[in-house]
């Protein structure tokens, strides 16, 4: 890193930070965009059922739909807390 680069702050420029943040949020939002409308509601209901038995937080249930041509797979991931 040269003397000049030190002043220019090339290493961790704010533009690079912006790009990284955008790549993450845009990828996340694109993933949600293709999901069916009923998914958030269904996730809440699944969460409610599990909570009857185990106390878990919202982010411990992941629901996703994967489409492969004519067939869709509903993927449900539940992380249970340690006993």
């Amino acid at each position: 890193m040269s003397f000049l680069d030190y002043f220019r702050g090339k290493k961790s420029s704010s533009a690079n930070v912006a790009k990284e943040r955008l790549q993450i949020i845009v990828a996340h939002e694109r993933g949600q965009r293709d999901q069916p409308d009923y998914l958030p509601q269904m996730q809440q209901e699944i969460l409610a059922v599990i909570r009857k038995y185990v106390q878990i937080s919202d982010d411990m249930v992941q629901v996703e739909v994967d489409r492969n041509g004519s067939c869709s797979v509903l993927e449900l991931n539940v992380t249970l807390p340690e006993r």
């Binding site: 704010s14 533009a15 912006a18 955008l22 845009v26 939002e29 694109r30 965009r33």
Partner: protein, 270 residues
């Protein structure tokens, strides 16, 4: 059959109306019969940018509701004679733009015009959805700034799912990225997202880069589309964008800083 082009962005204040004015003027200047339609019901501004605000008698909503004919509402531009402006209503509700009403007007315009440029309001509400619904092509106006890029991606998702072409399962709306208020100096200093960064994130073809320029405010002050400022970099960048829109190959300009200062030239040499 007219080609329908929506100028959209999601975020406000990025240059949609400025772009609509210049793109439509550029198309008309090349001899194509063009109409530019303001979809921002309640916040009419295209008339001001096109310098015809005192000539508005009837508007888009009047035509939809059968209170005026299309010919009564269309305003012929005083500079380019193949260009017409269809102003929007300043007083009605957004919901006055019904899908059927908009379709009726677009169909009637299609009979006589080559290009219909739809100037979308900001946001992703009803007005914006109506502006993009019938589009064949979309110019997504984006500033090199996080919120604008994110909103552009959102509007791209809507184009891909809620436009007529998407609903009918037709060939998708052709998407174009127009990066505006670009400052090569700040990009060089690492303070602004570069063209390549935005292209990489949004992953749609680049139509043009409009440099940040004082000419833009100066021309809007006077109701003059930027593209008519043929000496300016912003005006020339818009002219390039119109040429590309019509299929011409033009190299991108104004993406690097031409006027190098004494110091940076000295240090760059080393």
């Amino acid at each position: 059959m007219a080609r329908i082009i929506v100028v959209t962005s999601g975020k406000g204040g990025v240059g949609k109306t400025t772009t609509s004015a210049s793109i439509s003027t550029g198309l008309a200047k090349r001899g194509h019969k063009t109409v530019v339609v303001d979809f921002d019901v309640g916040l009419r501004n295209l008339d001001l940018i096109m310098n015809c605000e005192r000539r508005v008698v009837y508007d888009f909503v009047n035509v939809i509701q059968g209170e005026a004919s299309l010919n009564q509402a269309l305003i012929r531009d005083k500079r380019v004679d193949t260009l017409y402006i269809l102003p929007t209503s300043q007083t009605r509700e957004k919901e006055a733009l019904t899908k059927e009403g908009v379709e009726k007007v677009i169909n009637e315009l299609s009979e006589t015009f080559d290009y219909i440029v739809c100037d979308s309001p900001a946001g992703i509400e009803h007005g914006a959805l109506m502006a993009l619904y019938y589009a064949d092509e979309a110019i997504v106006v984006t500033n090199p700034e996080v919120s604008s890029v994110r909103d552009s991606d959102r509007i791209l998702g809507i184009l891909q799912s809620k436009s007529r072409r998407a609903e009918m399962g037709q060939e998708p709306v052709k998407e174009h990225l127009l990066l505006t208020r670009y400052n090569p100096d700040r990009v060089e200093r690492g303070e602004m997202l570069s063209v390549a960064d935005v292209e990489e994130i949004l992953a749609i073809p680049l139509l043009g880069v409009i440099p940040e320029s004082q000419v833009v405010l100066n021309s809007s002050n006077q109701g003059m589309p930027v593209i008519l400022e043929t000496e300016s970099d912003a005006g020339q960048a818009y002219d390039d964008a119109v040429a590309r829109l019509l299929g011409e190959e033009r190299e991108h300009r104004f993406m690097t800083n031409q006027k190098k200062g004494f110091f940076s030239r000295m240090f760059k040499g080393g």
